[in-house]
Amino acid sequence: MTNSKRHILNGYGNGQRLLAVLLLITVSLTTSCGGGLQSALNPAGPQSQHISQLWWFMLIVCTVVFVVVLGVTLVLLVKKAQGSPDELPERESAESQRRKAFIVVAATAATIVILGAFLVDSFLVGRGLTAALDRKQGVVIEVTGHQWWWEVRYPDVDASSIFTTANEIHIPVGVPVTFTLKASDVIHSFWVPNLHGKKDLIPGKVSTIWLQADKPGIYRGQCAEYCGHQHAHMALWIFAEPREQFDEWRRNQIQSAVKPASDSEKRGQQVFLTSTCVTCHTINGTSAGANIGPNLTHVASRNTIAAATLPNDRDHLASWVDDSQQIKPGNRMPPNKFRPEEMQALLDYLQSLK
């Protein structure tokens, strides 16, 4: 993007010229398209593939238009006629007026043609995105947005194999997955840039979006609609994995919680069931059944906790349980003060819930 006005600068001290050079370096540095596991420029599914093709097509055409317009502006600055500013303005010759009129009309026509191309291309890609694929063997997942975490529910024809998890979604590779999006409180926006664009979750409405991952891998998404204090830490992970690995994960999720083996884990379960945890969380197979907070039946099988903000290891779990307001101020989980041996037992138990 050449936006430094070369000849204006030479009239000034090198202070300005240094600034302009600095600008050029930084601009070229920034256009390096980083990979990243949450980037629209690194598509891993058919939808984001089409969108990124549309993006590159538009970027190139727009850059050309920008360079042309800016080039013309710079050229007219270089070629400006000399003359003192205070004499009265002269009238242009009719002939040069006519030539300029032709150029302006041509430029406008070019703009219309380019916009037409953009319109047609974006309409085709748009239709492609929402084309109804045969989703027979596809997977349906219900995602409900809460204030600052995602509740994920895998519905199924036979009721016994329906299960709920949170913030981490496993999907089979190469299979179209339909998300049914509902919001329980305010507007959120479900967005995994590597796979597809975003779709708002609006209370009182159900919106659907379907996407498909071609390459196995981990794709991070984040809530894109401002939803309150912890909008910044409301992320989710999508694990795209081969079908059999997905089915195996699914079978494990359907089971109810692992019985505590060691007596420390038993003590931990005792602590869980008799303290404030039971008022909000559910662990299938135990008497804890409140669904205000995320379902913890298989919390240890998840890589992250707190809406994909903290890695799921022992000390992060301890700091989160002890005082979550330090990490995500304003979130709905109150701090819980436990005695040290109770805390260790509780952690043992939670980490046993594979």
Partner: protein, 659 residues
């Protein structure tokens, strides 16, 4: 003694002229002291107050932006806690959109339109005064509550369930909703005043096809304000009533709908950004004409594209809502409309470039800002076209890509031309030229700082960084670009600081500006700098679209306006044929009192419903004063000789001239 260079180079002043001018100064003078400050209805005084107040809010907005940039400079930064950050970014957006951009554009219109069309004052001076006070009270309301930890925290467009009664406790969003109503009342007052002046108070000979492009831009903007502002007043009234008296406009459980709010708000939202952008097109046309020493190329094309932008501006608000579950076909219609609006803007830029092609360019700071505008706005417009396509918008909506786009078109599209307008017209307002050297520093610091802040944000948006996040995780790969943006923000702030230094320096040491320092073509340059209270001693007759350049040798003028009363000429709408000698009301305290009554109604209205009853009584009392109280009605009726009744009989002298 105010140096009086009048527009009568032909003959010096006779004895009678001197006496009449002294009489005019006495009649049009502003009452002294504090009382004068509240009651003065001179459009220039009110407009300068608007500009200064709006600029102060611009600085507040800038400080809030700096706070946000510091918080976002590093991942997991603890400079601002989330609650405070949400208040800062909401007040930043609200200040910039409602307290800075719209008022300062109407302010420049209120100052310059009467001078450019050759009128002695605006059509409704007291309404103008009322508009300013309502705006001032709205601004004070927002900032007093922001200081008291009651700043709104639901975003500058406050989407409903979050800003609704369930999820925004306390009075924060109520204060935002009432502040919106305040600023919209003042914008509507400004619009009615500008339209009244342009339609009815032009100098004879200035028919519609001879109107300067600046005045066309203000006219088009005012009509957009008339039809756009009611939408946001309704949206904020629905929100306030949902929060205070339990109506169910946006409660999905009782038949309401969250998307209704989005439709209502963005039906105003998009015309709002064009209301901010179109006056800037007027500034640029004036600056390009003067500094290219040449008449604008394609005058009719420019006027038609202004009008086309205004109409299209109302037809594309749904591109803010592509991610909501609206039907796909409807969205693609709005894609087409959003792309079409790029055509009129493109035509304007092509015409400016054609005007400057091969002209004797006089590179001064105003033109530098216009060139900066071309560079930045074209890039912003192109990213706008990208945002118009539905599939691409799904990826980049509500991300930092949109933050980059909106700042490119708003700062590039209207703040750069605004600074150009400051450099161009401050000599007329204050009588002092700003320094060119500081001007160039100001431009380059702002240009480079701006690009450093906002160009990396395109990249951040594509790499998945959503909008309005108070912090981000370290492993997202966004840290370095955010740091770069924060450094750029510092340079941008430096640029604005240089402008303030330049302004203060010029107040003392700047060159004394004569009537027409830039040899410009519009009528305001025929008056002294700063112009006298009564503007035109003898209203000139206009003979071409570039008034001063096309002035014939004997320079016809209008005589016969009384100098014992505040009289100005009312002319017909299309051909500006003189019709009436209109009597303008003098200084009056009633606008201020009406503003206080309105303030009482809306502010106390947050706390009790009785405020509306008290407000109604107060307002009616002020109307009685407004209607009966002003002194100059009495004497007019008493000693006025019976007037001839047919106003349409234009004096023959004029008809003969431009037959």
């Amino acid at each position: 003694m105010v140096e009086r260079s009048q527009n009568l180079p032909v003959d010096a002043y006779t004895e009678a002229d001197e006496r009449e001018i002294k009489e005019l100064e006495r009649v049009w003078a502003c009452p002294p002291g504090i009382i004068g400050w509240f009651t003065d209805t001179d459009h220039k005084a009110i407009a300068l107050r608007y500009v200064v107040t709006a600029f102060v809010f611009f600085l507040f907005g800038g400080i809030e932006a700096a706070l946000m940039r510091i918080q976002l400079a590093r991942p997991e930064n603890h400079f601002l806690n989330p609650d405070l950050y949400n208040q800062v970014f909401t007040v930043h957006g609200t200040t910039m959109m409602f307290l800075f951009a719209v008022p300062i554009m109407t302010a420049l219109g209120v100052y310059l339109v009467p001078l450019m069309v050759g009128a002695r004052d605006v059509a409704f001076p007291r309404l103008n005064n009322y508009g300013y006070f309502v705006y001032l009270i709205g601004g004070i309301l927002l900032y007093v509550s922001f200081i008291l930890n009651t700043g709104p925290d639901a975003g500058w467009f406050a989407y409903v369930p979050l800003s609704g009664p369930g999820y925004s406790p306390g009075k924060r969003v109520d204060i935002w909703a009432q502040m919106i109503t305040f600023t919209e009342i003042s914008a509507l007052c400004g619009a009615v005043v500008v339209i009244g002046t342009i339609f009815k108070m032009r100098a004879p000979g200035m028919s519609l096809h001879r109107l300067p492009l600046f005045v066309w831009a203000q006219l088009v903007t005012s009509f957009m304000i008339i039809f756009a502002m009611p939408a946001v007043m309704l949206a904020s009234s629905f929100l306030a009533s949902d929060r205070l008296i339990d109506t169910h406009f946006f409660n999905p459980a009782e038949g309401g709908d969250a998307i209704l709010y989005q439709h209502m708000f963005w039906f105003f939202g998009h015309p709002e950004v064009y209301i901010i952008f179109i006056p800037a097109l007027g500034f640029i046309s004036s600056i390009v004409t003067t500094f290219a020493r040449r008449r604008i190329f394609g005058y009719t094309a420019m006027v038609l594209s202004l009008i086309a932008t205004a109409f299209l501006g109302f037809g594309l608000w749904v591109h803010h809502m592509f991610a909501t579950p609206l039907p796909q076909l409807g969205q693609s219609f709005f894609t087409a409309a959003s792309m079409m609006i790029a055509i009129p803007s493109g035509v304007q830029i092509f015409c400016w470039i054609a005007t400057m092609w091969g002209a004797k360019l006089n590179i001064k700071t105003p033109l530098l800002f216009v060139l900066g505008f071309v560079a930045i706005f074209v890039l912003g417009g192109l990213t706008g076209v990208m945002l118009a396509s539905v599939p691409l918008d799904l990826q980049i909506h509500d991300t930092f890509f949109v933050v980059a786009h909106l700042h490119y078109v708003l700062i590039g599209g209207s703040v750069f031309p605004l600074f150009g307008a400051f450099y161009y017209w401050i000599p007329k307002w204050t009588g002092r030229m700003l320094s060119e050297r500081l001007g160039h520093w100001n431009f380059w610091l702002m240009f480079i700082g701006f690009n450093l802040v906002f160009f990396p944000m395109h990249q951040l948006g594509l790499q998945g960084m959503p909008r309005r996040v108070y912090t981000y995780l370290p492993n997202g790969g966004w840290g370095s670009l955010n740091l770069l943006a924060s450094i750029g923000a510092l340079i941008l702030a430096l640029g604005v600081a240089v402008f303030i230094v330049n302004f203060l320096w010029a107040r003392r040491f700047g060159l004394i500006a004569n009537a027409n320092p830039w040899n410009a073509d519009t009528l305001e340059w025929s008056l002294a700098s700063p112009p006298p209270d009564y503007n035109f001693y003898r209203i000139p007759v206009v003979e071409g679209s570039n008034a001063l350049w096309d002035r014939s040798a004997e320079n016809p003028v209008v005589v016969g306006l009384s100098s014992t009363k505040r009289e100005t000429l009312v002319t017909s709408v299309v051909d500006a044929v003189p019709e009436l000698r209109y009597e303008l009301p003098g200084p009056s305290i009633w606008p201020l009192l009406l503003a206080l009554a309105t303030a009482e109604t809306f502010i106390v209205g947050i706390f009790t419903a009785w405020a509306f009853a008290i407000g109604a009584v107060l307002t009616f009392g002020v109307f009685i004063g407004w209607f009966f109280g002003d002194p100059n009605y009495e004497n007019v009726a008493a000693k006025e000789p019976p007037q001839s009744e047919e106003p349409h009989r234009a004096p023959e002298v004029l008809r003969a001239e431009n037959a």
